[in-house]
C-alpha cells in the first residue's frame, strides 16, 4: 500500500513539476478573469479608438472585461465624488480644469513621477492626472468672410460684429476666451472684470453652440464669421467643410487644453487600471489619436508624418508657444464666472 501511495505521490509530483510551469502562464493571464474594469470616457471617435487599441488587447491579455461608461465629465466627476468612500469606477477621463481639483479632493491617484507612464509624457503636463492629449484653443473661420488666418484681435473688428459664435459655458472654450480677452486688455485671467468687459464687446453673440455641426452649418451659411474652437475634432471635421479654416493665433498663442486620464483613488482594480493607462497613453493609441482625431500626443516617443504634424501640437517648441492659463485659479472662479457669463455675455 505504502509503495503504491508513494509511487502515486511521485507520479503526481512529477506531473505537477511538468504541468506547473506550463500552467503558470495561462494562470497569470487569467488572474483578472471575472474582473470588470470600469472606465468613464467620452463617446464617439474616442470610444472607437479606445475599444480598438486598448479595450480589445487588454481583454485578450488579461481575461478581464472592460466596461466603458460613456458621457460628459460632469457625470463621472459626480460619480467618483459620490463614491469616494467606496469607488466602483477605476479610470475617469477628465478635462484639465477638473483634474487638479479632483486630485486635491483626494478622489484620484496622484501621478507617479517614477512610473514610465509619467516620464514618457512631456514635462510639466501631468497636472493632477496623466495628460492624455494636447489641443489648443484657436479660431475657426469662414474663409470667404475672413481672408487670412485671423488673430484673436480680429474677432473684435467692427465688420464681424454679431458674427462671432461661442461654445456654451462653463467649458474650456469659454475659459480660454476669457483668458485671451483679458490679455488683449493688458491683463490676465486673474482680472475677471477686464476679461468679461472685453468678451462682452463681442455682443450680440451670433450663436451659442453645443455641437460643432451646428456651428459649422452657420459658418458655411455665412451667418458666423469666427468662433473660438479647440483643435483636434474641429480639424478632423473640417475635412468636410472646405470653406472653413482654422487658425492657431500668435498674439497670444493658442490656449493649451488637455484631456487627462485619471486613476481613481482606491479603485477596485488598480493593476488593470494601470495596464489600461499604459495602452491608452502608449505610442499606438496616441498615434491614432493624432492621425485620426488631430489630438496632439503627450507621449514623447510618438513620431508623426509631416502632414499630420502640421495640424497637431507635437513638438516641445509648439507646446511652449501655447498660452497656459492658471487652471487651479480658474476652477475656483467657476461658479462666479458662470453667473457673470449668463448675465454679461448671454444677457439673461
Amino acid at each position: 500500500m505504502r509503495d503504491t501511495l508513494s509511487r502515486r505521490a511521485i507520479a503526481a509530483a512529477l506531473a505537477a513539476s511538468i504541468a506547473l510551469p506550463a500552467m503558470m502562464a495561462p494562470a497569470f493571464a487569467q488572474d483578472f478573469k471575472g474582473k470588470t474594469l470600469v472606465v468613464g470616457v467620452w463617446g464617439g471617435d474616442i470610444e472607437r479608438l479606445l475599444r480598438q487599441n486598448v479595450v480589445g488587447p487588454l481583454e485578450a491579455e488579461t481575461g478581464a472585461k472592460v466596461e466603458l461608461v460613456l458621457g460628459g465629465t460632469g457625470d463621472r466627476l459626480a460619480r467618483i465624488y459620490a463614491e469616494k468612500a467606496n469607488p466602483t469606477m477605476d479610470i475617469a477621463f477628465l478635462n484639465i480644469y477638473e483634474a487638479p481639483q479632483a486630485l486635491k479632493d483626494g478622489v484620484v491617484e496622484a501621478p507617479d513621477p517614477k512610473s514610465p507612464l509619467y516620464t514618457e509624457i512631456w514635462d510639466g503636463m501631468n497636472n493632477g492626472c496623466y495628460a492624455m492629449s494636447l489641443v489648443g484653443l484657436g479660431i475657426a473661420y469662414n474663409k470667404k468672410l475672413v481672408s487670412s488666418p485671423p488673430e484673436w484681435a480680429d474677432m473684435w473688428k467692427p465688420e464681424y460684429k454679431g458674427k462671432i459664435a461661442v461654445a456654451s459655458y462653463p467649458g474650456s472654450e469659454g475659459d480660454g476666451l476669457l483668458g485671451v480677452a483679458a490679455r488683449l486688455s493688458g491683463k490676465d485671467e486673474h482680472d475677471a472684470d477686464a476679461a468679461f468687459a472685453k468678451v462682452s464687446e463681442l455682443k450680440p453673440i451670433a450663436l451659442t453652440y453645443t455641437n460643432l455641426d451646428e456651428a459649422f452649418a452657420m459658418m458655411d451659411a455665412g451667418e458666423v464669421a469666427m468662433a473660438p474652437m479647440i483643435s483636434g475634432y474641429v480639424l478632423a471635421a473640417l475635412k468636410q467643410h472646405p470653406d472653413i479654416g482654422f487658425s492657431f493665433p500668435k498674439n497670444p498663442g493658442p490656449v493649451l487644453v488637455r484631456d487627462m486620464l485619471c486613476l481613481v483613488k482606491n479603485s477596485p482594480n488598480p493593476e488593470l487600471a494601470k495596464k489600461f493607462a499604459e495602452l491608452a497613453l502608449g505610442v499606438k493609441n496616441q498615434t491614432d489619436y493624432a492621425e485620426q482625431l488631430y489630438f496632439g500626443p503627450t507621449n514623447k516617443n510618438v513620431k508623426l508624418p509631416e502632414s499630420v504634424s502640421a495640424d497637431v501640437i507635437d513638438t516641445p517648441e509648439e507646446v511652449s508657444s501655447l498660452l497656459q492659463l492658471d487652471w487651479p485659479y480658474v476652477i475656483t472662479q467657476r461658479s462666479d464666472w458662470t453667473q457673470r457669463w449668463n448675465k454679461d455675455v448671454l444677457g439673461q
Binding site: Y81, S168, M218, T338, N342, Q348
Partner: protein
C-alpha cells in the same frame, strides 16, 4: 386583527418604495443645507442656509424662477386652448378617426422630450425648414431667430406636453352626457353659449387636472428649454442642470431642486383646494 392583515402584506412594498423613492428626496433636502469647502467639490461639515440665502440674494435666480413660472403658465394656457377642441373631437368621435387621433396624441409622450426637440431644431433653426421656405418665397433674406427665444421654447413645451392636457380632458368630456348639450340647444342656446355655460363648467375637473400636469411638467422641464433655448433662456431646470453638471456645485443644485419641489407641492395643494371649491359650488347649485 383581520382588517390589519392586508396592511401587513402591503408593508414590504411600502418599505421598498420608502427606501427607493423617498430616500433620494431626503438626501436632496439634506444636501441643500450643505456647502462645498473653499476650492473643493467635497461637502464641508455642518449645516447651513447659505444656499437658500444665495438664492434669495441673487436676482438672477429670482428672475429665472419668475421666468419659469411665466413660461409654464403660458404653456398651460396654450395647451388648454389647443387641447380643448382636440379633446372634444376625440371624445365625440368614433371608430378609426378617434383611435388615430388618440394615437397621434400619445406620440410625444412615448418618444420622450429629446427627439421632438431635435426635430424642432431642424424645423426652426436658422438653416431649418421654416427659414428655408421663407427665404425661398423671398419673405426674408436673413434667418429669423426662433431658437434661443422665449417663443421657441414655449412652442416646444406646448408640443411636448399637449397630451398631458388632452388626455384628462378626453376623460371628462367623454363622460358628459350629450343630452345636456341637446337640452341646452333645444332651449335656444347658441353653440358658443353651450360651450361657455354647459361644457366648460362640466369639464372643469379635467381642465384642472390637465393644467396641474402641464404646469408641473413645464416647470421642471429641462431638455426642451435647454435644446430650444440654446442656453439663452434660463429656466429653473436649465439653471439647476448648469449648477449640477457643469459648475459641479451639487449642494446648490439640490437647493434649486428643493425649491422646485416645494413650488410644485404648493401648486398641487392650490389645485386641490380649487377642485374642492368647484365641487362644493356644484353641490350648492
Amino acid at each position: 386583527m383581520r382588517s390589519s392583515t392586508p396592511l401587513l402584506f402591503l408593508l414590504p412594498a411600502v418599505a421598498l418604495s420608502a427606501v427607493v423613492f423617498l430616500a433620494p428626496f431626503a438626501w436632496l433636502i439634506y444636501a441643500s443645507f450643505k456647502t462645498q469647502g473653499a476650492g473643493s467639490l467635497l461637502m464641508a461639515d455642518g449645516l447651513t442656509v447659505k444656499n437658500y440665502a444665495r438664492l434669495v440674494a441673487d436676482s438672477y435666480f429670482a428672475a429665472a424662477f419668475v421666468r419659469t413660472i411665466g413660461l409654464s403658465a403660458l404653456t398651460t394656457l396654450l395647451t388648454l386652448v389647443v387641447g380643448l377642441p382636440v379633446a372634444r373631437l376625440i371624445a365625440t368621435g368614433s371608430g378609426r378617426a378617434k383611435g388615430l387621433l388618440l394615437a397621434l396624441m400619445l406620440v410625444p409622450l412615448v418618444c420622450g422630450a429629446l427627439l421632438p426637440s431635435l426635430g424642432m431644431i431642424h424645423l426652426l433653426g436658422p438653416l431649418g425648414v421654416v427659414n428655408g421656405t421663407l427665404k425661398l418665397l423671398g419673405l426674408t433674406t436673413s434667418s429669423i431667430k426662433f431658437l434661443g427665444t422665449t417663443g421657441g421654447v414655449v412652442l416646444g413645451l406646448v408640443q411636448a406636453f399637449l397630451p398631458l392636457m388632452v388626455l384628462p380632458l378626453v376623460n371628462t368630456l367623454s363622460r358628459l352626457p350629450r343630452d345636456v348639450e341637446h337640452a341646452a340647444s333645444s332651449l335656444g342656446a347658441s353653440p358658443l353659449r353651450v360651450w361657455r355655460r354647459v361644457i366648460l363648467p362640466l369639464a372643469m375637473p379635467g381642465i384642472v387636472a390637465g393644467a396641474v400636469l402641464v404646469f408641473s411638467a413645464a416647470f421642471t422641464a429641462f431638455v426642451t428649454p435647454q435644446v430650444l433655448g440654446q442656453g439663452k433662456i434660463a429656466t429653473f431646470g436649465t439653471v439647476a442642470y448648469q449648477q449640477a453638471a457643469l459648475v459641479l456645485d451639487w449642494p446648490f443644485a439640490s437647493t434649486l431642486a428643493v425649491v422646485v419641489l416645494v413650488a410644485i407641492g404648493l401648486a398641487l395643494i392650490l389645485s386641490a383646494q380649487f377642485d374642492r371649491l368647484l365641487r362644493r359650488r356644484r353641490l350648492a347649485a
